[in-house]
């Protein structure tokens, strides 16, 4: 991709620095990268994060386990259920709580639907990054709205669900839950067809994404990337398969793995993951039986014995880990959120240097960061 450079003696060229962000339409939040460009070619990238740092970890250390759930929503606002899941699973693991079967299935359905809505956010924002004027964005947002309507019916909120509890769920789902989910899935399938038709085969889209921002398998692992960004580089690492939690070992789904580690693979992979998520939800719906949603003996006050646990789940953006250290009592002694975005973002320089300015935006979009999750 490098442009042939003119010999130095003929031309004096000067690299200029461009400050992209924190206010820039395609930095997906308040992220700043300082690009050193030689004409249109990026020679260096210095990313700056931290504009959204709110000290979620410290805040959670001052709150009891129930109060912390709401803060998990706010660290990962596109995949809230996945974030909550890691947190409540960590508490359950320390407290040794058995979660009833129905609650697990519902959690799984909601997490996968959340993955769908999060990936739709990606397709929309990514479409805008490569320059489709808003069409990909609206197509995707219509689907997101449909999923969020369902979430609102169940949890009462469109974005900050605060619905999972250590031990199960806050309350029972609505009576028409199964029919509603099926309805949502039908609409999502249509929406996926639209997004797919709009972008996947489009020659300009392919030209903009293929072979751009490649990262090799070894580098991707070395940088600690996770999720679709890692799998696009050919690493078959999906925590749902390698260390199944919930009932992921009882449902049938495939983990799409990329081959070239470029932006196009990352896009295709996420589109495919939406399909797989639909598959998982459909299987979950068949397995869903009536039953309790909280264990019978549930302590009124959540207190953990001393101990520590590192829970990892596969959130849409990658591994969302919770490292919970307890020294007894009703609040965490230390809570560390392992954010997928932070690790994925580290590889930005590796992917961007040598590409064009326009590609820098596309590559950043393809990592699919949520700055709230990166900065916590």
């Amino acid at each position: 991709m490098a442009m042939p450079r003119l010999p130095d003696q003929e031309f004096e060229t000067q690299d200029i620095m461009i400050n992209m962000g924190p206010q820039h339409p395609s930095t997906h939040g308040v992220f700043r990268m300082v690009l050193t460009v030689d004409g249109e070619v990026v020679r260096d990238v210095v990313p700056y994060v931290g504009y959204m740092h709110r000290g979620a970890e410290k805040l959670c250390e001052t709150m009891d386990y129930r109060q912390g759930i709401g803060y998990m929503d706010r660290t990962e606002y596109l995949a809230n259920f996945n974030a909550e899941l890691s947190y409540v699973m960590a508490v359950e693991q320390l407290m040794d709580i058995q979660v009833p079967e129905r609650a697990q299935w519902i959690r799984m359905i909601l997490c996968e639907l959340n993955r769908i809505s999060s990936h739709f956010m990606f397709t929309g924002a990514f479409g805008t990054d490569v320059g489709v004027f808003g069409t990909a964005f609206t197509y995707s947002f219509i689907q997101r709205e449909i999923v969020q309507d369902l979430f609102e019916e169940i949890t009462g909120d469109r974005l900050m669900y605060a619905y999972f509890r250590p031990g199960g769920l806050a309350w029972e789902v609505t009576d028409n839950f199964v029919e509603r989910v099926r309805e949502v899935l039908t609409q999502v399938k249509q929406g996926l067809k639209d997004v797919d038709g709009l972008m996947t085969a489009n020659e300009i889209f392919i030209a903009r994404t293929r072979g751009v921002g490649t990262i090799s398998t070894e580098d991707a692992i070395d940088y600690g990337m996770s999720g679709p960004a890692l799998r696009a580089s050919g690493v078959d690492l999906d925590i749902r398969k390698t260390e199944p939690y919930l009932y992921y070992d009882q449902v049938d789904f495939d983990v799409p793995v990329g081959e070239h580690g470029d932006v196009y693979d990352r896009f295709l992979l996420r589109v495919e993951e939406i399909r797989q998520s639909i598959r998982i939800v459909e299987q979950c719906l068949e397995r869903l039986r009536p039953g309790p949603i909280l264990p019978e003996r549930m302590p009124r006050m959540l207190r953990t014995p001393p101990g520590e646990v590192y829970i990892r789940t596969e959130a849409p953006r990658g591994e969302y880990g919770i490292y919970l250290v307890s020294k007894g009592g009703n609040r965490p002694y230390r809570l560390k959120i392992r954010s997928a975005g932070l690790s994925n973002l580290q590889a930005l320089k590796e992917m961007t240097v040598g590409q064009y300015v326009a590609d820098a935006v596309v590559i950043l979009g393809s990592i699919d960061i949520v700055l709230c999750e990166v900065d916590r």
Partner: protein, 156 residues
């Protein structure tokens, strides 16, 4: 070029579909019963007083400390010749809606079912020019349920 043609056909197919826009201020989407806007207090119409006894449970459980509760002896208690079985009753109650994170914990910890999340559009359309106007006092918190404008939903 086939791909571009496919893109064009896709957009053409959506061109013929109905727009999904809801023209918001004119058309209010029906919001589900479980919708969580902001917490408000409930009014016991039988005895004509709030359910809330000012027990501070919600205040203590609030993660963002947006509530301030003061209790008093109930003048309407049976021992005082009234009709209420509540010995203590709420005296003053403030909720700072600007700070509330709508986590529903106050509703869950309430032993008297005295607080519920607003599930009407009134609970969402709260634009004001001054943040201090978002600090709701007891009368404002009770008004909506007292007027019967709300069918509250409390889990279980």
């Amino acid at each position: 070029m086939r791909g571009i043609a496919k893109s064009l056909l896709t957009t053409l197919s959506t061109f013929t579909r109905r727009p999904v826009t809801r023209e918001y201020p004119d058309v209010h989407r029906p919001i589900p019963q479980r919708d969580r806007a902001f917490p408000l207090l409930l009014w016991d119409t039988e005895i004509d007083e709030p359910f809330c006894t000012g027990c501070h449970a919600c205040e203590r459980a609030c993660p963002v400390e947006c509530m301030t509760v003061l209790m008093k002896d109930n003048p309407n208690h049976t021992s005082q010749g009234g009709s209420s079985s509540r010995r203590k009753i709420i005296d003053k109650f403030w909720i700072d809606y600007a700070r509330c994170m709508r986590c529903n914990i106050c509703v869950e910890v309430c032993n008297f079912d005295a607080i519920a999340m607003n599930n009407t559009w009134q609970g969402h359309e709260l634009s004001v020019y001054d943040r201090s106007d978002l600090v709701m006092d007891l009368q404002q918190l009770l008004a909506q349920h007292r007027a019967g404008d709300i069918k509250e939903w409390v889990a279980q």
